[in-house]
């Protein structure tokens, strides 16, 4: 677990948005659309990036395939993934507070 923490925190924006949306079951293309929408196109997750990120996250046990519908893989966060996402959210909250000269 400690290894995963140092590997993923701080995390890339691609990883952050994938984990964020996979708190509910979802698939790659839908995550990329929701990410583009939520960030006003600031964060793009094109297919090469998405495939690489999903397979790495699955290999590391942060997400898992819940089922496959017509070749489309549906993923969900694992407990480990949730733990890592929560840690990262905490770190970002501290960064944000600190950026305003406040303490968390």
């Amino acid at each position: 677990m400690k290894d995963l923490e140092s590997k993923y925190i701080p995390m890339t924006e691609a990883t952050f948005y994938i984990l964020l949306f996979l708190q509910q079951e979802d698939h790659g293309y839908s995550i990329s659309k929701k990410t583009a929408e939520l960030t006003s196109d600031e964060v793009r997750l094109p297919p090469g990036t998405m495939y690489g990120a999903l397979s790495k996250l699955e290999k590391d046990g942060l997400i898992q395939t819940v089922r496959t519908e017509n070749k489309r893989k549906i993923y969900k966060l694992t407990e480990q993934g949730q733990h890592i996402l929560d840690l990262e959210k905490g770190r970002i909250a501290r960064l944000y507070a600190n950026s305003k000269g406040e303490k968390l």
């Binding site: 790659g28 094109p46 090469g48 990036t49 998405m50 893989k73």
Partner: protein
């Protein structure tokens, strides 16, 4: 129309640009067989994006193709682990299939791991055989001539591929 082009493993970006130019001239890629043999059909000149991605295994490739297709990319062919996708350049698709330097380098690393390491080992073995042969003294044996030719061919190819991949790696770092 069929066209043949000689290219090495590391020249995939060059092939992408060439295929895009062909599409602009009204030649759309239909398929490719064996390395270098492309089949085109005449069509309206079109602005197409062609992108190669690389996958070491068939299951990874199938998963990735399904994902690319959802994004609207059309699967064209697979050659030695390289998978070619096409998308009309209509503003709907991202111009790039990777959004970060790390992802672009990830693809280069996948190629190195799956292709370059085996080919480099093959080159090393043939070089050792060649040196052994040279020590044995000159010979006009057909088998020896073949080893010599094969070794030179593999060596030149390997060096060219490494050169191309390292160049690509550096250009990713500069972006």
């Amino acid at each position: 129309m069929m066209k043949f082009r000689f290219y090495t493993l590391s020249q995939y970006h060059q092939e992408e640009r060439w295929l895009e130019k062909m599409a602009q001239n009204g030649w759309l890629l239909k398929n490719a067989v064996l390395p270098g043999f492309y089949f085109f059909r005449k069509a309206k000149p079109e602005n197409m994006l062609y992108r190669f991605d690389y996958f070491a295994s068939k299951s990874q490739r199938n998963d990735a193709i399904a994902l690319y297709e959802e994004y609207g990319w059309k699967y064209i062919f697979t050659m030695n682990g390289f998978v070619l996708f096409a998308h009309p350049n209509d503003g709907q698709a991202d111009q790039q299939i990777f959004s970060s330097e790390e992802d672009r380098k990830g693809m280069i690393l996948r190629i190195i791991k799956a292709r370059m390491i085996p080919i480099t080992i093959l080159m090393a073995i043939s070089l050792i055989l060649l040196i052994y042969q040279l020590f044995k003294g000159p010979s006009k044996d057909f088998a020896d001539g073949f080893t010599m030719g094969f070794t030179c061919f593999v060596s030149v190819l390997t060096v060219l591929c490494w050169y191309g991949l390292i160049k690509d790696w550096k250009s990713v770092s500069r972006q």
